[in-house]
């Protein structure tokens, strides 16, 4: 059985609150080569279905927490991102305040070509100042016994 801090399972932690600026949104859009006016042109965006500048869906990645819930899994030395399930709801607009909450929803074992692995699943919810869900991101971190970086 995997050794970890089971008391943390399901417990919700508020990780922080973040101000969204037009500059942050456009820097992100530019970094991934977006050309769509809804993401890159505040004036042009007014003529799109969004009615104004909105952030690309993966913009949630700019919100960083100093501390994230840690189940203290006693296995492997380093974690890698194994996968994500993202749901997108209300768009993010300049001036929004986003609150980030997270909880560890699962810790489980699996075997693969590099041997035994432990997966830590963390669900992060992003909400805006109106209490609307903006995004829900479930991320799986994998830790490998062999310390190998990949399959």
């Amino acid at each position: 059985m995997i050794e970890f801090d089971r008391s943390i399972l399901g417990k919700e932690f508020v990780l922080g609150t973040f101000q969204v600026t037009e500059e942050m949104m456009m820097a992100f859009a530019q970094a991934v080569g977006e050309t769509s006016p809804q993401y890159t042109d505040p004036e042009g965006a007014k003529k799109t279905a969004s009615g104004g500048l909105v952030a690309p869906p993966i913009f949630y990645d700019v919100f960083r927490a100093d501390q994230i819930p840690d189940p203290k899994v006693k296995f492997g030395k380093v974690g890698f991102n194994a996968g994500q399930r993202c749901e997108f709801h209300a768009p993010i607009r300049p001036g929004d305040t986003i609150t980030m909450k997270a909880r560890i929803t699962d810790v489980y074992e699996k075997t693969g070509r590099t041997g035994k692995m432990v997966f830590i699943v963390r669900e992060t919810t992003y909400e805006n100042q109106k209490g609307e869900k903006v995004a829900v991101v479930e991320q799986s971190q994998v830790r490998r016994e062999s310390g190998a970086a990949r399959e």
Partner: protein, 217 residues
Amino acid sequence: MIIDMHVHSDVSDDGMASVETYMKWMAKLRRNYRIDGIVFTEHRLFNSDADYEALAREYGMLIFKGTEADTDCGHVLCYGMNGKILSHFDLKNVQLSGRDLISAMEDAGGIGIPAHPGRRYIGLVEHLEKGYEIGHALRAAEQLNGGSSKQENARAQQLVVERQLFGIGGSDAHFVSAVGKFMTDFKRPIHTMQDLVEQLYSGDYRPITLEDARIQA
């Protein structure tokens, strides 16, 4: 009858699509390829509560439920799961005895078939080479797996030949467009899981590619 014996729906932790989404895709595939059924072999669990009867009727195809278990000699595909097996084996335990599981499946009226035997660590071949005692219940192995490399499938084929096993084919699809890559062509009709298990023990089948299943004009 042609059946994809190894598919993962979103019930598996790393599966991407629902059973219904798979069925819609297969309905389209069937215009050009013969495919009669599919087995959802979910990772480390058996989806007891799911009932795919209505979907199977709607799409005119067989939909079976199975399991892909993690064991101490690699992954094992289980067909004919039942309460007896589930109460004896904790499928979340990735170090289950593969030998005991395969033997117990036979005793309980099902069959355990090593998945992708040619893969490192999670394939049977490597464990046999290290001296693993598989026991007497081993009858078949997954000779063609859609997620394995050519070398991995070649090692699986070698196992089948050396141990005179029966060979099945499965796509190991985790998303819809990968389904059907490899399948199993059974000589006799299959209607129930019991029929499938009987046929698996009979050996009257062979692994095939999607192209083998193309409907000739």
